[in-house]
Structures are given as C-alpha cells and as structure tokens.
Symmetry: C2
Subunit: 203 residues, 2 copies
C-alpha cells in the first residue's frame, strides 16, 4: 500500500512526478534522452535493461511496467524473467550478455566494478559510448526503483499494462503544463484502468 496520503492503490509514477515539477521535471527530460534518444541500443534493448535492473532491485512497479513496455516492442516478458534468473542461460544474444553482467554489478555492488568487466564489454564489440549509455540506463532505474518503493507505490497488472502502453506510445517526455491538466489525466486514467481490470478478469 502506498505510503503517502495523496497516493493509493491506483497510483503510478506520474502521481509522484506530476506533483513535483521543479525537482522531477528535469528527470523526465533525462529519461526521454536516455531511453528514447540516439543510442547504440534499440528502444527494446533499453527497455529490457530497465526491466532487468528493476527486477534485480525487486521493484514491482518498474519491473512490471517496463516488462509491459518491452512487450509492446516485441520482447516476450519471459526473456526478462530468464535474464533476472541467470544471464548466461537466458535467450539474449551473446553480444548483449556482458552488458547485462555489467548492469548487474552496477546495481548490486557498483563499487566492485573493475577493468576486466569493461574489457568483456569491449571484447563483445561494444564501444565506450555504448557502455556509457548502458550505465546511464542502469543509474536511471536505480533512481526510479527507489522513487517508487520509497513512496510505497507497487502497482498491479492493470497499471503495468496502462503504463506500458503509455510509455511505448508517448515516451518519457512530459509537457511543461502537465501540472495544470493532471486531474484531467487522472480521471481518464481511472476510466482506462477500470476497462483494463475488466479485461484482465475476462481473460
């Protein structure tokens, strides 16, 4: 259950970020650039990284919703579960595996990263720029995982689906006037959530 009086079981990340534009507005900009801007990694690959890091941190909200985003880009959610369980036997390409090993250490024991971890990434054919880009995805989701769990926002299947559809369609950018229309957005969200919940119940 969410920890703050303005949050409830239907809350998602926007109920935190839309309420604090001065501090969290710039984070939306950074996220859009890191997750949707020019990169050595496809959008699907970056969303798998986001869901993977969130899985390692056991952040239900980010893990659930970024699995749903990855699914919208054609990635079966089982791939991410397999990655969290064991990178080496998971169905991601051999080229990507050292990147996921790097993200694992970056998330769990960042201070223990060493030159040989970088060497493995380079030997798989990645540039320094690519490694920098993967690190940024890792840093970002270590931020967001704590933002969500820090506020006690856990989500549920309908919310993950809703967030997944929204993020795959609209990305992370948020217009400056979002503060003024957030109640309107909330109403339309609750309506969509209701429909998604019924859909989940029927299936």
């Amino acid at each position: 259950m969410a920890f703050f009086s303005n949050l409830d079981s239907n809350s998602d990340i926007t109920d935190i970020t839309f309420n604090d534009r001065p501090r969290l507005g710039p984070m939306d900009k950074a996220s859009q650039e890191i997750m949707r801007g020019k990169s050595s990694f496809s959008i699907a690959e970056r969303e798998i990284m986001a869901a993977y890091v969130s899985g390692l941190n056991a952040c239900s909200f980010c893990h659930g919703s970024h699995k749903a985003v990855a699914e919208q880009f054609g990635v079966p959610p089982t791939v991410i579960e397999q990655l969290v369980e064991d990178i080496d036997s998971s169905p991601v390409s051999d080229k990507l595996k050292p990147i996921f090993h790097y993200l694992k250490k970056l998330t769990i024991t960042p201070s223990k990263l060493v030159e040989s971890d970088v060497k493995k990434v380079k030997e798989a054919g990645w540039s320094e720029e690519a490694l920098h880009e993967a690190i940024l995805v890792g840093c970002l989701f270590n931020f967001y995982n704590r933002l969500l769990d820090g506020h006690g926002v856990k989500g549920n299947n309908a919310i993950y689906q809703f967030a997944g559809e929204h993020l795959s369609k609209n990305g992370y950018g948020v217009p400056w006037f979002i503060g003024f229309i957030k109640n309107m957005i909330k109403k339309s969200k609750l309506k969509k959530l209701k429909a998604l919940e019924n859909q989940v119940r029927v299936n």
Copy 2:
C-alpha cells in the same frame, strides 16, 4: 583507475557530465533543485545525506567529495563516518535518525520499506513533503554513485577537496555553454589540484 579513455586519475564527475549535456544536463538541474532548492532540510543536512548514502554504497568519489562539501557547511567529517557505522549512536539529532534509517533501507533494500518506517519518520515530527525530499536525495545519490563507479572514477583527497569547495560555492547548476568552455575549466582545475596536492603533502 578510470575505465574510459577520456578519463584519468585526475578526473571527477564533471569529466563525465560535461561530455554528455543532452542526457546529463537535466540531471544537473534536478540536482540543483533537490540539493539547493527549497526544502525541509538545511543544505548541510542534505549534504550529510548525500555523503551517507554514498558511504553505504562505498562510492569513494561521492563519499569523499560530499564529506568535503558538508565540512564547508560546518559538519565535521567524523559525523558521517559515525553515521555509516551506526546511526543510533552517531551524533546527529534524534529527530534526524529515522530519516537516516529510511535512507539506509532505501539504499540497500528499497523494496523492503514498509508503513512502519514511514510512521517512525512522521512520529519524529517530519511531514510527508520532508520525507519525499529526503527520498529524492537518496534516489539522486544512488544514481550518481553508480555513474561514478560505473565509469571507474574514484578520485583522491585533493579532488574531494576541490569538488567540495566548488559545490559549496557554486552548487550543482551548470550553464548551457559549459560544453564550449570545458577545456578551459579543465586547465584551471589541474592548476588548483596541483596546489591542493602540495598543500596535502605539506600538512
């Protein structure tokens, strides 16, 4: 030793952030707002939080430099060491202790935070807004700790001192044209570092 070919033993965070303005420029803005903007916590308290979280993550660069910033605001660095060792016996006020317990769980096991952790913070007299502000400091340094260790930037005493003086004087905001003058800044920094190193050697 730093992992990237544009980084060396004299590198600090700006050698990463000045080179990637599209992705990291917005992070400077968020940091300035979180660490220097309006808050329930003084600047010194927020800098202690930053140094504390970085100590938990064993991030030498952020721990060293934010201890130095806190020192510029009158906090003896031993306070932060005592906090990292044991919050309850450390010399921070009883009112602040539940905030540091919250930050500890947020950093190490964020998904395990529960209502009773929030209750303790509120019972100490903090508002929900204050807890949100502390969470943001925690999220931010979980980002930066991984940014520094992900790139292998560890720093040294002269660099922590340099960063501490810079951050206490200028804050986290960075002008838009920083990309154009970063080589000039680097030259002046190396000169100051040389002087600081000599000073450390003499003392």
